[in-house]
């Protein structure tokens, strides 16, 4: 048995199992998106591109997609910045670093859907901790789920709390394997810490940063648990994201066919956007002269 | 048990990595590959080991098609330039590793491994991990691992490259003896160091741009490099190659320095040539017919010698001087060129006459 046998032996079991699991849902979704399967009639008839045409002009869906700019991009950016700050502090060395590191990793271990329940109890307007604290220092209470900005804020808080540790962990691991030489050279040149950070640390961290940002963009675009529990997409549909929109269409209204169309559209748009984002980030962080 | 390469070649897209390699390696002999970085030495070794696929030609071992055998069935050992060992195993564990599938009993394998560890001078380090050893010791472990299996083919890819000068000299001395333990193997040793080639090699193969451009007994190749390229590769520091002319009974270099035609060049037709001089045969100081004033570009001390790189009106010249001397860039120095030591090449770089010994 030659090298090709082993080459396949490594990749194929995993790849084939994955394909086996995923192929049916994928093909099924494609086929269903050309049918009229809904709550009143189930079955695979053929209605051509009707669902696709409806999707194309569904302002609510595209509105929800646009809202991802808010939830996916903004929360990912904040997580990246905070995560980088924390990782950089630990990397440079802080007192009791190990203890802090341990505490900061805890949110990663918690279940987002369950934490959403905890956050909801905190942001309950009548007996929640947030308003309780505001009252105790003499401030007026806030309508966390009835006003748009506070509602968004609660979701931001939950997401940032949950996932900043993920960024922290990845970026710390990245910092720990950076080569020492460029930093020694910068020190000899008398480069200021700020300059060292922008000119050396950040560029060297580019590859791992891009990886972490992409994976977080993928994951945070799926945001569902916290919206489901905290705001139910409200007030109005101010916090409705594509995942929530999809869930409503397919699992509460049972517009199975239309839901599949939306899902495929989401997949295609995400693949395109992520490819572009990856290219842009790689371009921005390309090596340049000093 | 010979290894036969027939018109072997590797093409990667439009890049020729190896081209037209035809050569037969015999067991019990040490073949030295010399060539610059990226000349194809490593690619050739990796191809022989089965780690790289060739695209043209054939490879036979003991008369049988070698290409059908995967790496792990080829009985090939390799020592890398970097000190590669299993970092999680002890020295003993490392040296035992190749014996795991040899069918030896545990006790036999261990005894054999300890003997080999002793042979490479590491008996007091058998329980250490490679990370706790010096570079030279790590490379000895790698060599012990390569030798212990009595492989049919032993490949050493610039094994002394990353060691410091003293260690290199010392290990080099050990090699001849170590290789005698593998007298049934084809041993192929890549290096850029002429001294190593002369010391360990039975045959010398000079590689350039993926081809073997000259082969033969090392001393023979040194004395008669068939081209300027070979002369540059097998001499370290490289030869100084200057323009030369023979006309009307005079030999001139750089159209200015003139002398009588030295004995080995008598009888050659008049015309333009290139003359190559070994650094060790040029001298500092102005004596004789052919002397030249140059300006020091760089000077460096290598062991007990000093290498001086000079810009002269005739061309870039490298002189090797005995002893340790200090020169500063820009110093003016006289150099003496011995015409009787000239390697004469024609204008396309082929050897016309070598000065002999």
């Amino acid at each position: 048995m030659g090298i090709n046998f082993y080459k396949r032996l490594f990749l194929l079991p995993g790849l084939l199992l994955l394909i086996a699991i995923i192929i049916f849902p994928l093909l099924f979704s494609i086929r269903v998106s050309f049918s009229s399967w809904n709550v009143s009639r189930s079955g695979l008839d053929f209605v051509g591109g009707a669902n696709w045409a409806r999707m194309w002009s569904d302002a609510d869906f595209w509105g929800a997609m646009l809202r991802l700019l808010n939830f996916g991009v903004v929360t990912t950016s904040i997580q990246y910045i905070l995560g980088f700050m924390l990782a950089h502090y630990v990397w440079q060395g802080i007192k009791s670093g190990r203890l802090f590191r341990l505490i900061w990793l805890v949110p990663l271990m918690t279940t987002p859907s369950i934490m959403a329940i905890v956050w909801r109890s905190i942001f309950r307007e009548d007996i929640g901790a947030a308003n309780g604290l505001l009252k105790s220092v003499g401030l007026s209470t806030i309508g966390w789920s009835t006003e748009i900005v506070p509602a968004m804020f609660t979701i931001y808080v939950a997401e940032i709390w949950q996932w900043t540790p993920f960024m922290f962990l990845f970026l710390l691991a990245g910092l720990l394997i950076l080569p020492k030489e460029p930093f020694l050279a910068a020190e000899i040149d008398g480069s200021s810490p700020t300059r060292t950070f922008w000119r050396i640390t950040l560029p060297l961290m580019a590859p791992i940063s891009i990886g972490a940002i992409l994976i977080r963009l993928i994951e945070s675009s799926k945001i569902f648990d916290s919206i489901f529990v905290l705001t139910s997409a409200g007030p109005g549909n101010a916090t409705e994201t594509p995942t929530y929109f999809l869930w409503k269409r397919s699992l509460t209204e049972f517009q199975i066919a239309y839901g599949a169309t939306l899902a495929l559209t989401y997949l295609i748009v995400m693949i395109i956007v992520l490819t572009i984002v990856a290219k842009v980030l790689t371009y921005i962080s390309r090596p340049r002269g000093w | 048990m010979s290894l036969e390469l027939k018109d072997l070649g590797i093409t990667d897209g439009t890049d020729m990595i190896l081209e037209g390699i035809t050569y037969t390696f015999e067991p019990g002999r040490v073949y030295v590959l010399m060539g610059r970085t990226l000349s194809g030495k490593t690619s050739l070794m990796r191809t022989i080991a089965g780690l790289l696929d060739f695209t043209d030609g054939d490879m036979y071992f003991n008369g049988e098609d070698f290409d059908v055998l995967p790496t792990w069935k080829r009985s090939t050992s390799m020592v890398y330039q970097q000190f590669i060992n299993y970092p999680n195993r002890t020295v003993l564990g490392n040296v035992l590793f190749p014996l795991l599938r040899s069918g030896l009993s545990k006790a036999e394998a261990k005894a054999k491994a300890l003997e080999m560890i002793d042979k490479v001078g590491l008996s007091s380090f058998a329980d250490r991990k490679p990370g706790q050893l010096s570079g030279g010791q790590q490379q000895r472990v790698a060599i012990a691992r390569a030798l212990i299996r009595n492989s049919n083919i032993l490949l050493l890819d610039e094994p002394l490259m990353n060691l410091d000068y003293k260690l290199r000299e010392q290990l080099r001395e050990d090699f001849r003896e170590l290789f005698t333990t593998s007298k049934d193997s084809v041993t192929i040793y890549a290096t850029t160091e002429p001294a190593e080639a002369l010391l360990v090699g039975d045959e010398l193969l000079v590689m350039h741009e993926g081809r073997i451009i000259q082969s033969g007994v090392p001393a023979e190749v040194f004395e008669n490099p068939n081209s300027v390229t070979v002369a540059q590769i097998v001499n370290e520091p490289p030869m100084s190659v200057l323009t030369a002319e023979i006309s009307n009974g005079t030999f001139s270099i750089g159209h200015r320095m003139k002398s009588q035609i030295p004995a080995h060049l008598v009888g050659l037709p008049d015309g333009d040539y290139q003359a190559g001089f070994r650094a060790s045969e040029l001298t500092i100081g102005s004596e004789g017919d052919m002397k030249e004033e140059g300006e020091v570009d760089v000077a460096e001390v290598a062991g007990s010698e000093t290498l001086i790189y000079l810009n002269t009106p005739t061309g870039y010249t490298i002189v090797q001087e005995e002893g340790i001397h200090q020169y500063i860039s820009g110093d003016k120095l006289g150099i003496t060129i011995p015409p009787e030591r000239a390697f004469l090449f024609d204008l396309s770089g082929n050897l016309v006459v070598a000065p002999g010994n």
Partner: protein, 277 residues
């Protein structure tokens, strides 16, 4: 100045991280009265702690018992992670060491295919998976949920491990092959012992993402095999009192918090860098 900012930020962040957990912990010991009279924070001073909330979820008061759910979660997470790390690790090693190709597609496309599995939200896949498992008679079984979770966890493992294997010098496996190991033996004897930190990291992520999955569990299992997050969310859906919910929240995250204390040293010490040096 920057030192002050640094420690201020560190302390602020630490408090922020601990705040919701402390709130849940405190609430889990409250009485109905203590909850309903408004936000209180300090036990014994502001309210008298009780164990009622905890009794409710541990089957003592007869209200709910989350222990079987926790065992379900453990079984499912363990096997889904095991399959993902094994097959994903092998695939990642292959992708790190060999060149695969089909027409214009190469290794990076295969890696992207793995990662792309994570793009689709579980919501989208729920219905097709439901139908698939129904036809395979795997609805409401451990195996069904394990397979579905594996498709989400393996991509994470592959993504992490390819990078990790890339950092182990390939001369090490070449050497093992030269010394008579076939590639599988080379992987097992030479590479695997060096990969412990990478395997630990990907196993940790597989466990975290597997344990925390809610949606598939909600849709694909009902009574026989209900996982912990699904059970807690179901409690939330009924009119379960606040203190019970808080207790269940703490209860459900305890195993993983214990887990992080055990594995923290792998997570930090440059686990990605490999043990090569």
């Amino acid at each position: 100045m920057s030192r002050i900012f640094k420690y201020a930020f560190v302390i602020f962040w630490t408090l922020f991280v601990l705040a919701p957990l402390s709130w849940a912990l405190v609430t889990s010991f409250k009485t109905p009265a203590a909850v309903n009279q408004g936000a209180t924070f300090i036990p014994w001073v502001q309210f008298d702690p009780t164990l009622d909330g905890w009794k409710d979820i541990l089957g003592i008061s007869g209200y709910a018992n989350l222990i079987p759910n926790m065992i379900n979660s453990m079984i499912i997470t363990f096997f889904a992670s095991l399959i993902s790390v094994t097959l994903g690790g092998l695939a990642a090693y292959g992708l790190s060491r060999f060149r695969y190709g089909w027409k214009y597609y190469g290794n990076s496309d295969i890696i992207f295919f793995f990662i792309a599995q994570r793009i689709l939200p579980p919501v989208v896949l729920a219905i097709p998976f439901f139908l698939l498992l129904k036809n395979l008679r795997l609805l409401d079984t451990h195996l069904g949920l394990i397979l579905v979770l594996t498709s989400g966890l393996m991509p994470i493992v592959v993504w992490l491990m390819v990078d990790f294997f890339n950092q182990i010098p390939r001369e090490i496996d070449e050497m093992a092959m030269l010394e008579g190991c076939n590639p599988l033996q080379a992987f097992r004897r030479a590479i695997l012992p060096l990969s412990k930190p990478g395997i630990a990291i990907s196993a940790i992520f597989a466990v975290i993402f597997g344990w925390n999955d809610l949606f598939f569990a909600l849709v694909l299992t009902f009574t026989e095999v209900k996982t912990l997050p699904a059970a807690v969310v179901a409690l939330n859906g009924t009119v379960t009192p606040f203190w019970t919910l808080a207790a269940s929240a703490i209860f459900s995250i305890l195993p993983l918090i214990g887990f992080v204390f055990v594995v923290e040293r792998y997570l930090a010490k440059g686990g990605f860098s490999g043990a090569v040096r």
